[in-house]
Amino acid sequence: MIPGLGTALNIGSVLPGAAIGLSLGRVIPDGLQQTIRAGLGLFVAVYGIQMTLRTKNPLILLISVLVGVVIGELLHLDDGMQAIGRWAERRTRRNGEPGRVSLAFVTTSLLFCVGPLTILGSFLDGTRGDVTVLAIKSVLDGFSAIVFAATLGWGVVLSAVSVLLVQGSLTLIAFLANAGLSELETAELTAAGGSSWLASRWVCSS
């Protein structure tokens, strides 16, 4: 198997999904779009809680989130991601609602790049050439891209770049280091990812 094939599959599902969603967005009534967004937000919240509950030691999760947030604030990570979305929006401004491109980009980038499937899938792809996990994720992301593109607009397309950078980098690192994560490390990583999922739910609702 070729390392990176899983990432290519994922991008190959997000882009057509977004294209289908953008086409459907024109025919789906606003009320139905809002309801779909609420349903997706609810799913993200439930899945985030499920992921967070996989922690084997809540103290590790608490410390990780606190230390991680401090580091993230010091590095101005959120400002950076928002700036990328705003820059993309300025470059291709349309008559749509303001801020939707950056919202779509940030939300779907986190949705597609933060989670156990991303981490585990990338490491399996890089170390064993096994793309099964990323293939499953590709199907999920493809359908998510349809719904998010229909409701949030074309900013979803930009998330394919995030998938390429994040999953591609993780796969490359795993390939070069031939490394893997232990069960405990994977559990805590998943729990921390669940917290981020929940945070993305708050963004969707705001």
Partner: protein, 39 residues
């Protein structure tokens, strides 16, 4: 029930990307604690 609970909460925007370093800290901390036999 979760939907009702979320509706009851006064939700506000959170700087989501700020959480990302936790994804690095969590496995590192778990690995260190496991190595020293703390977990």
């Amino acid at each position: 029930m979760v939907g009702i609970a979320l509706g009851l909460l006064e939700l506000k925007a959170i700087k989501v990307a700020t959480f990302l370093p936790a994804l690095v800290v969590a496995p590192l901390l778990a690995g260190v604690l496991h190595a020293v036999g703390a977990v």
